[in-house]
Symmetry: C2
Subunit: 190 residues, 2 copies
Amino acid sequence: MGRWEPGAAGRLREAALALYAERGYDGTTVADIADRAGVTARTFFRHFADKREVLFAGSEQLEQHMVKALAEAPASATPMKAVAAAVLASSDFFDTIPPEYSRRRQAVISSTPELRERELIKLATLTSALTRALLDRGVEPDVAALAAETGVAVFRVAFGRWIAAPETPEAVPFAAVIRSTLENLAGLTT
Amino acid sequence: MGRWEPGAAGRLREAALALYAERGYDGTTVADIADRAGVTARTFFRHFADKREVLFAGSEQLEQHMVKALAEAPASATPMKAVAAAVLASSDFFDTIPPEYSRRRQAVISSTPELRERELIKLATLTSALTRALLDRGVEPDVAALAAETGVAVFRVAFGRWIAAPETPEAVPFAAVIRSTLENLAGLTT
């Protein structure tokens, strides 16, 4: 997926996350992050729009990847099956990132209202993108919106479960947690 | 529910909404809102913390009402049935507000990123409250989180459908739109 590239962008991400955890998001400047990563502020801004985006830079790629999986689901797939394919595809994305980074990132986001807001906006944008992809498959609007919202609900719950899991060498893969959450969903409404 | 009380608070809400639509949220001050409502800024702050909260002042009541409905669902109700009772109870709240106000309010929120963020935070808070209420009923954590997220997804989609409906004297009640959305949900996963 190309998200977890080495080099300046990866070092800046790691530096930002470390500093947010140490000093808090409000107490960290772009200059601090650049210093820690051993690059200039100018380099920072070549990679990220601001100190908030440094934690969300992969979200467009994640969204595109999920939308592609939805679009490529068999024509015979129900709306929810197509959405499930998109949610399962998100695991390809997270498989390229050290789980420990995802865990630390989520801890910083959860404790920083400004980052939490940005995360919620990104998830709302993802929901809209999945809704549009369902409409493109000819799904009726009310059903498309509901299937997309439900898929993002599964994603949120599965992601929360996955990063809350105790760390073990045989950690449960994210895809398995998504599958289990989709089974819970089917059980909920029967 | 006491949300749509007449008097200063109601006039301030109406004034804020009219000004946000006319001049935009950023172009409106608390002094402008108080002027339009014929009260002092001091009176504004007796009712609302800031110019953002004036559009969200009822959300704690809505949350409490929904949590109460969930808690009072029969012990035999499945987690999703209990959540459905909470979502249906939200219609009691919106029945006390002129639908035209809800519609105009949503238009202002959708076009103002700062208000959209606040709305998403309120919905995330509602999700957490419903999750806790399910845990109190002894529901297993993974299922509780998923049922609450799914219930809020139903609420969001139903609310969007309801306020997007063309206005007619025989407008479809919100509760009917919620029921139809719950039926769509059951159909999604079968």
